[in-house]
């Protein structure tokens, strides 16, 4: 008897998996090639996902969410990504917009933006990148000048996921260039604000159903109440956001990997060469086994890290509701330590797995695997970005190593080591 590994999901989480899988099969698979080809934004699928209530699974019920946390968001992302990693990104990019609002927004800010992000009525986006500030976000050049109750934004941001389609944008600009990284501040800017326009639409290698735009700010005046967190805390907001959003990339990557493997095995079971099915060759079987092993290891890491994060998020949120403080403040008070290391591990590991697995899948399929009218090569193109965005996998390794150095350097660890 074959077994489905039980990761201990709740009944509600299983319902989410089922529903997301149904959307992936019935609504995304039939149209994914079209959006990959045309690079149009998949509005019709967005509507299906909206109707299914899958946008806000990770948000508290007070904001129209489902009361879940990271696990729920990642389950949606993983299942949708099995069909198309570009379309699924429209949903997780909204999460990347909502997380900083949830963590650093005051009650008024949370009420103002989260319900629409949770229902999918308005899409969200998060943009820290600039032409000269990629991995080095401290080089942010866009400025935000305080004028009474307003800030005036100027500058160019680029590679904005959900750009143009989204209506709520988290952007980063410096309030004081002299202060360098300590001047960078997070803001929420709504589409339609005068002085905020869209520049170039990027054409991409993969995730082509996802829109990627330049954002242009020319004397764009926004109320001071759109500032997220204190002045100069922008990089802090970004870091804390990434701590919780990076598993989202991991889940997208694993979905892509699993989707590619499913398509591949379906094909090689029937494809015959030298008078036997391709799947019956041991060389292929070992590749298959390696793919499955890596994906499963990624899942185990992703789910266990998420479980820890869920607990922190839910507890901090419950306390913030009582105290009226920011969720992030409560999170610090709980003092779980930063989850950065584990979050980076999930992101880097799962996305490396996705690249290896999808490359091997194209290989197992042979010539047809390389062809556009066969679904496997798209997975390989889609997988690549997961090693790059939300911090390249080199940056993830830097962060993991940095945390390790800190840990080993701390006295407590020193003492523990001396004991042995």
């Amino acid at each position: 008897m074959l077994m489905t590994f039980d990761y201990g999901f709740t009944d509600d989480q299983k319902e989410i998996i089922k529903l997301a899988r149904e959307i992936a099969e019935k609504k995304i698979k039939p149209v994914r090639a079209h959006y990959d080809e045309t690079e149009e934004f998949p509005w019709e699928v967005i509507e299906d996902i909206r109707k299914a209530d899958l946008f806000g699974v990770y948000l508290p019920v007070e904001y129209g969410g489902f009361g879940g946390a990271n696990t729920e968001m990642c389950l949606v992302s993983e299942e949708l990504s099995k069909a198309c990693g570009g379309i699924s990104l429209a949903v997780t990019a909204c999460g990347l917009c909502a997380i900083p609002i949830l963590l650093f927004g005051n009650e008024a800010q949370r009420q103002r933006w989260l319900p629409d992000l949770g229902s999918g009525k308005r899409l969200g986006a998060f943009n820290i990148t600039e032409p000269d500030a990629g991995s080095d976000a401290t080089a942010t050049k866009s400025t935000a000048r305080r004028e009474g109750d307003y800030y005036v934004l100027n500058g160019l941001k680029n590679f904005c996921t959900n750009g143009e389609a989204a209506e709520i944008y988290i952007v980063f600009a410096t309030v004081n260039p002299v202060r360098g990284p300590r001047g960078i501040t997070a803001f929420v800017v709504e589409k339609g604000t005068p002085g905020f326009t869209f520049g170039k639409k990027e054409t991409k290698m993969g995730i082509r159903a996802s829109s990627t735009y330049e954002l242009i700010f020319e004397n764009c005046k926004i109320p001071a109440s759109n500032r997220l967190g204190s002045e100069g805390y922008g990089l802090f907001v970004a870091q804390a956001t990434f701590d919780f959003s990076r598993p989202g990339v991991g889940s997208q990557a694993l979905g892509i990997a699993q989707g590619a493997l499913d398509e591949t095995i379906k094909y090689i079971r029937n494809r015959k060469q030298f008078g036997q099915t391709v799947i019956s060759f041991q060389a292929i079987q070992h590749m298959m086994a390696d793919c499955a092993m890596k994906i499963e290891a990624g899942r185990a890491l992703l789910y266990s890290v998420n479980r820890t994060m869920d607990k922190i998020q839910k507890e901090a949120y419950a306390r913030a509701k009582e105290s009226g403080k920011l969720v992030y403040e409560e999170m610090r008070a709980l003092n779980p330590g930063r989850v950065t290391k584990y979050s980076a591990m999930v992101k880097a590991f799962c996305s490396d797995v996705a690249m290896q697995v999808t490359t091997d899948c194209v290989q197992m399929c042979g010539g047809i695997g390389y062809m556009r009218d066969f679904p496997v090569e798209k997975y390989m193109r889609d997988a690549k970005i997961t090693q790059i965005y939300e911090g390249t996998n080199q940056v993830q390794r830097n962060e993991i190593a940095m945390m390790m150095i800190k840990e080993y350097a701390s006295q407590m660890v020193q003492k523990e080591l001396l004991k042995v």
Partner: protein, 270 residues
């Protein structure tokens, strides 16, 4: 003009899970899974769309079937219906289309009584995927003494007194006006069924589903179950298996064409 709608749905063996028992010629019960009859999904969707087009009424789902048939009523709640009713009684077992349509008509009368409303429209699918008769819809209309139209592919207009519908025919489309209350049975060309929503699914989980037996719906015992059925099944038989087709090989189109033509010649078809 708000519409009160009842959609009749049925739980049937899920397509793909079905095998035929060679002994009895009937569907094998082993390893079978059940689902809402695929055509019924279109009926349900149309009921929900009409509620959205003409707000203010209620769209309800009704089924007759075993205890497990409750699952499809929960599915209907998950997709957004306002209420569901389950006609479930051992006395209903063995009902043919005549008895089934009678039982459903009594169920609809009972819904009217229970909710203190008048039903304006009953929607069925053109047929189920198991019995395949296409008789229950029109039969139900006869019991209700309402006009009915089968093979509806579009509900164009609804007024206080009339429905204007498009009926799909082999040689074109009939545009018909029928008086309310009415029954329509729909084809799959009518819409694209939605998926359930997460909130709907949660509501469905918690819902308490009313279950009515023969006496609840004041059904005449002589008209229900095996006793009330007019059809007698003499024998079940599967159609003979079709021989597999021939796959044309060849590297180029020209080569394939040659092999194909040779084959046709060989079979003396050319």
């Amino acid at each position: 003009m708000p519409l009160n709608i009842v959609v009749c749905i049925k739980q049937t063996p899920a397509t793909g899970s079905v095998s035929i028992d060679p002994q009895t010629g009937d569907i094998s019960k082993e390893g079978i899974s059940y689902a809402i009859s695929p055509f019924d999904e279109y009926a349900l969707e149309e009921g929900l769309r009409l509620k959205e087009r003409f707000p203010g009424g209620a769209t309800l789902a009704l089924t007759m079937g075993a205890v497990r048939a409750e699952e499809i009523l929960r599915e209907a709640i998950a997709r957004g219906v306002d209420g569901v009713y389950h006609l479930c009684d051992e006395a209903f077992d063995g009902s043919d289309t005549f008895a089934t349509s009678y039982i459903l008509s009594q169920g609809i009368r009972k819904i009217e009584e229970e909710r203190k409303i008048k039903i304006d429209l009953v929607i069925c699918a053109k047929q189920t995927n198991d019995g395949d008769t296409g008789q229950v819809g029109p039969g139900l209309a006869a019991w209700l003494d309402w006009p009915n139209t089968a093979y509806v592919k579009k509900v164009e207009q609804v007024t206080d007194t009339l429905l204007r519908v498009h009926r799909m025919m082999e040689d074109g489309t009939d545009i018909l006006e029928i008086q309310r209350p009415a029954l329509i049975s729909v084809v799959k060309e009518i819409n694209e069924p939605r998926l359930p929503s997460l909130k709907g699914k949660m509501a469905a989980k918690k819902a308490v589903i009313p279950r009515w037996g023969a006496s609840d719906i004041k059904a005449d015992p002589a008209l229900i179950g095996l006793k009330g059925s007019l059809v007698e099944i003499a024998k079940r038989q599967s159609p003979p298996k079709r021989a597999g087709g021939l796959k044309i090989g060849g590297a180029t189109i020209e080569e394939k064409a040659k092999i194909f033509v040779d084959k046709l010649r060989e079979l003396k078809l050319l």
